[in-house]
């Protein structure tokens, strides 16, 4: 099954839209069973496990995170947060059909709003994608904030 550049771009755009529309169960389906979501703490960080990150989550934690966001006992979401991604046109960095590995790089802004507070984040997201029987899947989504090492307030939504 071949993949076009446009399909890779459309995938990244759709992924952000699912999050903004709070279609979290659909969003989880975008990951491979061993997929990871990584948000490093330091600029250019390459180590995933032996230093601190903001997030490094497998499907158990991502599923917990998604279920929690809509749970009745989730007090920090009473009232709820809302978020929106503003994406630059995703750039396809590499397409290796033989290895079934595709890299897409997307600068973004993300605004998270709750009550009268509004937090603005910006950075780059790098998708490491692979084609499975039912379509493209995320092996790794790495989100590096331009100020990843700054002192933030609560970041409750998924960027």
């Amino acid at each position: 099954m071949s993949v076009t550049e446009q399909e890779l771009i459309d995938f990244v755009v759709r992924e952000a839209r699912l999050l903004d529309e709070e279609r979290y169960e659909d969003w989880l389906e975008l990951f491979t069973s061993d997929g990871r979501y990584w948000m490093p703490l330091e600029p250019g960080q390459t180590e995933e496990k032996l230093v601190t990150s903001l997030l490094y989550e497998d499907m158990i934690l991502l599923t917990t995170r998604v279920r929690r966001l809509t749970g009745k006992l989730t007090y920090s979401q009473q009232p709820k947060s809302r978020g929106v991604h503003i994406l630059q046109l995703p750039a396809v960095d590499s397409m290796d059909e033989a290895a079934n590995v595709f890299h897409v790089h997307t600068p973004f802004q993300f605004i998270e709003s709750r009550m009268d507070e509004k937090e603005m984040y910006a950075g780059w997201m790098d998708h490491n994608l692979t084609m499975e029987k039912d379509g493209l899947k995320i092996k790794m989504k790495r989100v590096e904030l331009v100020n990843c090492d700054a002192a933030h307030h609560n970041m409750q939504l998924i960027i």
Binding site: L41, T52, Y56, I60, Y75, S76, A150, N154
Partner: protein, 454 residues
């Protein structure tokens, strides 16, 4: 109340069993805390492993003060104010760096030895016959009034006079000692940058929550119970051992009687810890490689004794929390009455296998990050309290759970894990180290300042 006109009136804010809301919400009280409490107490600066070689420095803040910790050429650690004695510029700004053999102010190129003493001024003859030798500037960078290094943990006291280090901490140093002993080499190393984040609440809400055993089953049901339920659904299909994340998060669902049984130990001067008998850290899966390294280093009996301590959260009053079995510390830096900067640092146990470092890095991001789904609900509670305390006609915060008439009188006491005794212990210390606000010298000034580099 007009605290600025009558600073001593802050001492009326603490009663037996209840404390006044102004302790959390008043900027005037906050300013007095910075001037007195955070100067009369020993405050954590950093860890010696952050400056391994001569010339290495680490910049931070203590209370409201810009501080640089630097390793001198003779290998001792110095704690200096990060201020050029000339015009006041901060001399270094990177969090970590190496100054080589001298610090150089980037404004007018004055240079200083790594102990802060003045080394060279360009065109120095310009100060001839000016009386410069007796100026403040000629003394170089100023050192803090007192500092002490305990097993590579660096603390300082900003006030000239006050208690010495050992008197201030007493038996509570056993938590730091046990933490260091958990390394087969008897040595810790800071790893990577700390998580830093800001909560819109008073610093005391954070430090009190460290020994608040009555909140996890309620506040963290959203994350921990959800994870527990999910794990029940998927564990039959899971291959291999129980994931670290599951072992870390599920104990947050434990009921009141579990936390009751954990126990709380308190020491004088506001220090105390949860997890005397057992804790949420008791049942982690450990690998043989670690115990073997510990037995090699200490002998089996001593190794068992060291690892048998599963202390949960140890509060070093006023603003440090240490977690030995998880190899981390959290520092709660006061910014304003309504704002606190939290730093979460992790450590490697030198000589121990990497899975322990992997666990502390996991715990740090899972539980104590601005992105933490556990921490989000904690922050929500602090910020709700910060807002709710604006309410009139009840100005008091209750801290009476399991209060005993003769508590906090011994060098060391163990209480029920559900007791709020550690809150009360902290407020006893608060009164003691705020006493100078009333012009009293009872608290801090009885002993002369004896800073040591021990």
């Amino acid at each position: 109340m007009t605290y600025l006109n009558n600073p001593g009136s802050v001492l009326d804010l603490v009663r037996e069993g209840e404390v006044h809301r102004d302790l959390y919400t008043s900027e005037a009280v906050f300013d007095l805390e910075i001037q007195h409490l955070f100067r009369n107490t020993w405050v954590y600066v950093g860890h010696a492993s952050q400056t391994p070689n001569p010339g290495d420095y680490f910049t931070t803040t203590v209370a409201d003060q810009p501080i640089v910790m630097i390793r001198h050429q003779d290998n001792t650690i110095k704690v200096l104010y990060n201020r050029c004695p000339h015009r006041g510029a901060e001399i270094v700004r990177d969090v970590h760096g190496c100054a080589g053999t001298s610090l150089r102010c980037p404004y007018h190129a004055w240079t200083f030895n790594t102990d802060g003493s003045l080394r060279r001024i360009p065109e120095r003859e310009g100060y001839d016959n000016t009386g410069f030798e007796s100026s403040h500037a000629a003394r170089g960078m100023t050192a803090v009034a007192a500092m002490h290094v305990h097993r590579e943990w660096v603390f300082c006291r900003l006030a000239e006079k006050g208690e010495d280090f050992e008197t201030f901490f007493g038996g509570s140093l056993s938590t730091i000692d046990n933490f260091v002993d958990r390394s087969p080499a008897g040595r810790l190393e800071v790893v990577g940058a700390p998580l830093r984040y800001v909560n819109r609440c008073n610093w005391k809400m954070l430090i009190e929550n460290q020994t608040d055993t009555f909140h996890p089953m309620t506040v963290h049901a959203s994350s921990a119970m959800t994870a527990k339920t999910l794990w029940e659904e998927v564990k039959d299909k899971h291959e291999g051992p129980t994931p670290m994340v599951v072992e870390a998060i599920v104990p947050f669902t434990m009921p009141y009687n579990f936390y009751d049984g954990m126990g709380i130990r308190v020491w004088p001067n506001g220090h105390g810890h949860t997890g005397v008998h057992n804790s949420i850290h008791s049942d982690y899966t450990e690998e043989d490689e670690y115990f073997n390294a510990m037995r090699e280093a200490y002998g089996a009996e001593r190794a068992q004794e060291i690892l048998g301590e599963v202390r949960h959260n140890t509060v070093y009053f006023p603003n440090l929390m240490v977690k030995g079995p998880i190899q981390k510390l959290r520092l709660f830096k006061p910014i304003s009455a309504n704002e606190t900067l939290i730093e979460s640092w992790i450590f490697r146990l030198v000589g121990a296998p990497d899975y322990l470092l992997e666990r502390t890095a996991m715990y740090n991001r899972l539980i104590n990050a601005p992105t933490s789904m556990v921490g989000h609900d904690d922050t929500e509670m602090y910020e709700r309290a910060q807002q709710g305390l604006r309410a009139e006609r009840n100005e008091w915060v209750n801290i009476q759970r399991l209060q005993l008439h003769d508590e906090c009188t011994q060098p060391e006491e163990v209480h029920s894990g559900n007791s709020e005794v550690q809150f009360r212990n902290q407020f006893h210390a608060w009164l003691k180290y705020m006493a100078t606000a009333a012009g009293s010298i009872q608290a801090a000034a009885t002993q002369s300042a004896t800073g040591t580099d021990g």
